[in-house]
């Protein structure tokens, strides 16, 4: 008996189960400029965030824009 009470195998089994389950505080659905900002703010204020997006990259429609008004800055 390792660890006094629980067999090593059981501990491993339990921790495996935890690994299979993802625990977080907030899920943000959509990785456009709004989703990114929400994720950054939450992560910076002590929450674990899952950011999910349907595209292969975050960025959303804003990434497609050439420049943004009224300053005409690059939208990247």
């Amino acid at each position: 008996m390792a660890n006094g009470q629980f067999p090593e195998a059981l501990i491993q089994q339990l921790s495996q189960k935890f690994r299979d389950h993802h625990f977080g505080d907030v899920m943000v659905v959509g990785g456009g400029v709004s989703g990114i900002q929400a994720s950054l703010d939450l992560a910076s204020s002590g929450f674990k965030v899952y950011l999910v997006d349907k595209a292969p990259s975050i960025g959303g429609h804003m990434a497609q824009l050439d420049k943004t008004f009224p300053t005409n800055e690059c939208s990247m």
């Binding site: 899920m27 659905v29 989703g35 703010d41 002590g46 929450f47 429609h61």
Partner: protein, 930 residues
């Protein structure tokens, strides 16, 4: 999704990329060899991309993915990429993965879908080659777009010379397939496209066909004027229809009409459809999955006084899914949703986050420099051009280089470990990594140095990819020589690098909120609900600000009742301390540690706080126009609202009422649009019609700016026979007392109707002026005290219009509400939650980390000339009296490390750490072959 607020269980399907993301380095060798081309969705399918590719040049994660068009996926043929990839990152065996995630709350930010004009076939989109949408046009203009930033027509790949924009495509249209609301962004984005088009081709002729120009946001009026003043730019107010395609030229004709010339048909080389914003593509499925309700337009149903809340508890919404939204509002609604999540989940904050533990840092400052050089092949990206082994040999010949080696991919996990292992083993105290741009990977390699137990600032990166192999890919010898030069420069600099400490500053957990209107109170409550002490300072004796003069909103909110609720919550909250009749005497300190002296009802106290929120509101302009103040029948919009709420008999019994828009703004003195007045007038008109359906109401306007859902109320008002008459600013209405038909005294309003082309006389019993919203005196005072900036119109200037819309440039100070710009209650509330959310990113920490790369003054060399102080607009440098005269001293917490002051200093007394004169001069010296 199952469960409830605080405990949701969500099942996700992760689509396979067929790429091992940990192994892929984004080198794109596979893309080069992939034989399959298909229309690139990122470039609006205008150009082609390969079946394996990176989504776009700056994608995050910067790895490739394989599209369904892949031959191997379709027919088990090809597989070339598998052989090409040196890192074995291609994995055709990947399958869709089911992932279960447990979270306490959800933020929905699925964004928008541009309106598809192909569905209705009425603009020739999809039929005529030279009709594109505004999003297509964005890609055409973009340097990473289908033609590398050349604006070319699909029909002949030539530059169009005459371009037309058609506004309101899919917006403000009550037809099947159209949207009744105004999308709010198209007028201004079309102006932007015109300006950029003129930058591409100064000779281009640009025409915008519109119904109203709705440039209602901060600094938009000037933007509109800038567009209008460009040569060859026409704004034409007209409904239009697409005519035909000219067979030979493939030009497209547009039919329109003007009051002067009647109906015309004109030919254009390219037509851009300014498409509106639709809900995200899969909105009904999304709503079903998350169990939330949608509004009539298919956007998320939200609560006007809690604008980030969806109908199901624990689910919040941000960005364009709340309705047509521009970028700043998308960003601040995100911060706002973050703050609301924080209120819900405050009990579990910080429980799931982990801190990294590093080995203790070795003090090597006294040692002779022992530099290690790691040269990256980046697969073939560098290795195919630069002779890496020879470069490693060369590096070993440089002074102080104790070790050098090559690596296939320096950024791969095993390579980073190799760097930290070799650093320890060889006793290295400086590391040069010759690879790619420090922009992406410097943080990673700094971490590698920390793992190796030496200070993270002992790193320098020589960029031999973006600055070399990628841009000199045909010149192998030259490129190898340049790589060696760049390494020599890095080594020279590395010798002089110093260990720097990033220091932790304690954070006072309290917040100070200046201004007790709806913005200030909402922000204060959100902070307090997340466990923070809040000091709320209001100059008046009562809380409420501008909202005290409002009674209803178009959405039907009883403002006074709502205000009573909020004020009650404020006074009941144990963490909120209210100071009324208060004035701020002085304030000082810096992020996390401010101290402010407040005088309230005769008492003076000092408040210590970590964050400051400025919500100092706005005021209504007191008109000098249209007999205001001379004739009591002339009132402002707010006065009219009060009279409506009080059921003023003379008002309700009026037979005729005229509203005049844009009083005191959109003029030379106040060159901005007050944003709320058009909808405010509509609201008053609808309320009056409800009280007295017989009343004749006229609204004299310049552009009706009822953006977003407010458009529906504009339509409702028109349906109830409120009459809208446009006037030109050069020919404004006139108001004079007169005797009306029945011998009664009236106000005679004279205005030129541009459609009828003649002067109209309207006898009114009441004239209401849509008086401008102007910055409050309190804002000007706060700007001075807190050393924050205002824009030319006197509204607070945010750190970045789009990316930091509620932050000031100075850390730890935030803004919200009308002090930022005129806005509606719902918008004010979002922004207030946002300011609280941003403040939480600071207040939720015990300490803030200040960068090590900041300036420092050598007092011996300082002559007190002040050149540095006048250059530093952050106010990070001050004079200090010493026995040797006044000397500059830097507050490292405020310093941002740009180093401008260094170049200003005549004596070299001020020095930006990590970018010192010595470090840069050593690079300059080493640039030339010895």
């Amino acid at each position: 999704m199952e469960g409830e607020a605080g405990d949701f269980q969500i099942t996700l399907i992760k689509k396979p990329k067929y790429i091992d993301e940990d192994q892929c380095t984004g080198c794109t060798a596979c893309v080069e060899y992939c034989p399959v081309k298909y229309p690139d969705p990122f470039n609006q399918e205008i150009s082609q991309n390969k079946a394996i590719h990176i989504y776009f040049a700056q994608a995050i994660p910067l790895v490739t993915y394989i599209d369904d068009s892949c031959l191997y996926l379709k027919e088990k043929k090809c597989g070339i990429c598998e052989g090409i990839c040196k890192n074995h990152a291609i994995d055709f065996n990947q399958r869709a993965e089911k992932i279960e995630v447990k979270v306490g709350a959800v933020i929905l930010a699925p964004g928008l879908e541009p309106y598809d004009p192909g569905l209705r076939h009425d603009y020739g989109y999809g039929q005529f080659a030279n009709v594109v949408t505004s999003l297509d046009y964005e890609r055409l203009m973009c340097a990473t777009g289908p033609y590398q930033g050349e604006i070319l027509r699909a029909s002949d790949r030539k530059h169009p010379h005459k371009i037309a924009w058609i506004q309101c495509v899919g917006s403000r249209q009550v037809i099947p397939g159209g949207n009744s609301y105004c999308s709010g962004v198209c007028c201004t984005y079309a102006q932007k496209q015109v300006i950029l088009t003129k930058e591409h081709d100064a000779e281009a002729e640009c025409t915008i066909f519109h119904n109203d120009i709705r440039s209602y946001n901060k600094d938009f009026e000037r933007f509109y004027q800038r567009t209008e003043s460009l040569p060859g730019v026409r704004f034409i107010r007209s409904y239009v229809s697409i005519g035909r395609e000219i067979p030979a030229s493939k030009n497209v004709t547009i039919r329109y009409s003007t009051p002067d010339d009647g109906v015309k048909e004109e030919e254009f080389g390219l037509v851009v459809l300014s498409v509106g914003l639709n809900p995200p593509a899969d909105y009904t499925a999304l709503a079903d999955k998350f169990g939330i309700e949608l509004n009539a337009h298919g956007f998320c149903q939200t609560n006007p006084v809690d604008p980030m809340e969806a109908t199901r508890p624990g689910i919040f919404v941000s960005g364009a899914f709340r309705g047509p939204t521009d970028i700043p509002e998308s960003v601040f609604s995100a911060s706002a949703a973050g703050s609301e999540c924080g209120e819900l989940l405050n009990y579990r904050r910080g429980k799931l986050t982990q801190a990294r533990i590093y080995p203790p840092e070795k003090d090597v400052a006294q040692e002779e420099p022992r530099i290690g050089v790691f040269v990256c092949h980046c697969g073939a990206n560098i290795g195919r051009i630069v002779d890496v082994p020879a470069t490693v040999e060369y590096a070993l010949s440089l002074p102080h280089v104790a070790y050098a080696q090559e690596q296939l991919f320096s950024c791969a996990t095993n390579s980073a470990k190799e760097i930290s292992d070799m650093t320890r083993e060889k006793g290295l105290n400086r590391v040069v990594i010759a690879a790619c741009s420090p922009r992406t990977l410097e943080p990673l390699f700094r971490d590698t140095l920390r793992e190796a137990g030496i200070n993270q600032y002992y790193l320098d990166m020589a960029n031999i990819r973006e600055h070399n192999s990628w841009v000199h890919s045909k010149e192998r010898e030259e490129s190898t020589r340049k790589a060696q030069d760049l390494i020599r420069m890095s080594v020279a600099r590395a010798r002089h690098l110093e260990p720097l400490q990033e220091f932790d500053l304690p954070v006072n957990k309290a917040g100070l909120v200046v201004g007790g209107g709806l913005a200030g109170m909402t922000a204060a409550l959100s902070l307090a609900n997340q466990g923070h002490e809040v000091y709320l300072v209001e100059k008046e004796s009562d809380l409420g600000g501008m909202a005290r003069r409002l009674h209803s909103t178009l959405e039907g909110l009883d403002v006074q009742q709502y205000l009573i609720d909020v004020v009650g919550k404020i006074y009941r909250h144990p963490l909120v301390h209210v100071y009324t009749e208060a004035a701020i005497l002085e304030t000082g300190g810096y992020v996390g540690n401010f101290a402010t002296k407040v005088k309230s009802r005769g008492r003076v106290m000092e408040i210590k706080h970590g964050a400051t929120l400025l919500a100092t509101g706005a005021e209504e302009y007191r008109p000098t126009e249209y007999l205001y103040g001379e004739d009591e029948r002339v009132v402002t919009n707010l006065e009219l609202e009060e009279q409506i709420a009080g059921r003023d008999e003379r008002l309700v019994g009026a037979r005729s009422l005229v509203m005049i828009q844009c009083v005191g703004c959109r003029n030379a003195e106040r060159n901005y649009c007050s944003r709320v007045c058009c909808s405010h007038s509509i609201k008053n008109a609808l309320n009056l019609k409800a009280l007295n359906p017989q009343m004749d109401i006229y609204i004299l306007f310049r552009d009706m700016r009822t953006y977003g859902y407010y458009e529906d109320y504009y339509r409702e008002a028109a349906g109830k026979e409120v009459r809208f008459i446009r006037y030109e600013p050069t020919d404004p209405p006139e108001v004079e007392p007169a005797v009306g038909e029945e011998g009664l005294g009236v106000l005679r309003v004279t205005v030129t109707d541009p459609i009828l082309g003649k002067r109209l006389e309207i006898d009114a019993d009441v004239v209401a002026l849509a008086a401008a919203v102007i910055p409050s005196a309190g804002s000007q005072e706060a700007a001075r005290l807190f050393k924050v900036n205002s824009n030319p119109d006197g509204f607070f200037k945010e750190a970045h219009v789009k990316l930091r819309p509620v932050d000031f440039v100075a850390d730890g100070i935030y803004l919200c509400g009308m002090a930022h710009y005129p806005k509606f209650i719902t918008e004010t509330l979002s922004q207030a939650y946002a300011a609280a959310g941003r403040a939480l990113t600071l207040l939720s920490h015990d300490t803030v980390v200040a960068s090590g790369s900041v300036c420092e003054v050598n007092e011996r060399k300082c002559i007190g000339c002040g050149a540095c102080i006048s250059a530093c607009s952050y106010g990070a440098i001050e004079f200090r009296e010493t026995r040797q005269g006044k000397k500059a001293v830097v507050n490292p917490v405020i310093c941002k490390g740009d180093g401008l002051c260094n170049a200003k200093c005549p004596t070299g007394a001020i020095s930006l750490k990590h970018h010192t004169d010595e470090e840069i001069l050593s690079q300059i010296d080493a640039a030339v072959q010895p």
